[in-house]
């Protein structure tokens, strides 16, 4: 399949995530949207990795080169960091819930003035 399909799919997922962050009012759903954005990036990185691998091997006909493998490593780093963020983020949301019994971000207006 051509690379464009993957790019369009990843961009669509990313946009869904951005829209979700901007319009939803529940902290957990906002957080889910952010995870969706991170996962769309994973998809895009893997697609680019395969693209560069194919391009690199098409360019030189000698021994196969391993260009493009670093993006696949990057994906693992994103997964690990996302997991670390989830553990911290959910703890913060739980702390918030214990105090105000709600996860609605509309409650977050005490600091405005």
């Amino acid at each position: 399949m051509p690379i464009q399909y993957y790019i369009v799919l990843a961009a669509a997922l990313f946009c869904i995530g951005v829209v979700g962050v901007l319009i939803r009012r529940n902290a957990i759903i906002i957080f889910m949207s952010i995870e969706l954005m991170l996962n769309s990036v994973n998809l895009m990185l893997v697609a680019f990795s395969k693209m560069h691998y194919a391009l690199g091997n098409a360019a030189n006909t000698g021994t196969p080169v391993n260009v493009g493998t670093d993006a696949q490593l990057f994906v693992f780093f994103i997964m690990v960091v996302a997991a670390a963020e989830v553990s911290v983020g959910l703890a913060i949301i739980v702390m918030m819930y214990r105090n105000i019994h709600s996860t609605d971000v509309n409650f977050l207006n005490r600091l405005k003035n």
């Binding site: 790019i7 990313f14 995530g17 962050v21 902290a27 906002i30 957080f31 952010i34 954005m37 991170l38 769309s40 990036v41 895009m44 990185l45 680019f48 693209m51 560069h52 391009l55 690199g56 360019a59 260009v67 493009g68 670093d70 993006a71 490593l73 990057f74 780093f77 994103i78 960091v81 670390a84 963020e85 911290v88 983020g89 703890a91 913060i92 949301i93 702390m95 918030m96 105090n99 105000i100 971000v105 409650f107 977050l108 005490r110 600091l111 405005k112």
Partner: protein
Amino acid sequence: MNAIIFSAGWGIIMMFCSFLVRNKSSFRHIAVVGLLVLLVVNILDSNGVAVFHIDSKNMLAYTRFGLLFNSIAIASTLIYVLLSGKDIARIGSYAAEYFILIFFVLCGVAILSSYNNLLMLFLGIEILSIPLYILTGSDKRNLKSNEASLKYFLMGSFSTALMVMGIALMYGGTGTFSLDVVRTETGLYKGVSFLEIIGLLFLMVSMCFKVSAAPFHFWTPDVYDGAPGVITSFMATIVKVAGFIAFLKLCYGRMTTTSTAIDWQLLFAVIIIATLLFGNITAIFQQSVKRMLAYSSIAQAGFMLFALFSLNDFASKGLLMYSAAYSLATIGLFAVLVKMKDVTFEGYNGLAKTQPVLAATNAIFLFSLAGIPLTAGFLAKYYMLASVVETGNYIWLVVVAVLFAAISTYYYFRVIQAMYFKTGEPQTENITGSFKFGLIALAAIIIIIGVLPQYLFNWLYF
């Protein structure tokens, strides 16, 4: 490499201390010892003595500039812990954890000052940010602290998602994560690709979030106001300038080589003017000194952005100067602020009568932030503006910046006016002699850097 491993290692050692050591006040001393060790190994590193020889495959590149910045960041943290260590330990019931998280933040700072690969940029930003989300919410019973923490977390992870998207697109365009891309006229990746420009724009937006440059600054006042005062001090100084160093490296690495395709200077000029405008104008109308300092940190970020605009020798020197001057002055101001019972301007009324040392040192810190000559802040602003003049483009930016600096003196001098020319009964917590001595030493450092800047810059070359 020394600083990265020692800071992470000391954090883990302190984790064990947190359940082995019963005496709460000793954590502060362990942290001070750790920071001293960190400072020594980092200075050794800049003189070529590496404790660990680890081949990072060019993912981390150590320059004198990065190592000097790292020394400044560690030294500022040391001063910060010495001045406000007791207040840090008093935020909540987990005294050791706050210091541990500060060490992990320093690990992120060390990565950001030496990264040479976008993967390391991402990891550095995350190692820096995740402990800060926790520190912001460390006052667990306080609703304002909770709210600031949740807001910071949602904004921070959103901007991280934008950052990784940018990195992915840049990878698509160039096929490498390394900062120094070899661009050839022939071959596989020739010229500047469209994907890379889009990716760089994403990355730029995300970095603007992290350093709170307008129009992505809206989280800053709320978060700085809601977080416990001592933590705000750390976030507004060391963390923010670390973000600027990372941004500067990114600009040197990728933006200079793509300037044929897009006019970065114009973009930065727009961001600088917006940041100076929002920061300064809103700071005028604040009633609380803490919130005023939050807006002033946005305004100071506007000045630091000049380094990214001009990208020359003056700019990198000036950013070092700015990071030292701004961090030290703001740490001092916040150290006094957390001792005050009332953090509005009225709360400072008549401070010069009851606490003359606090008022005098506070005045010097405010002079430095406003950029009055003989203080470090003046030279920092001078270097920033000189760098713009040296590029030769957009000279009118200098005029705008000077005008805004003049506006900024209004809200800084309001604090001085309250301290010296108004009468009142300011309520402060118990001020010890060593705290006063620390403030005087800090004010002396600011004046020494302002008069003899070569002592700072000599580290760059020798």
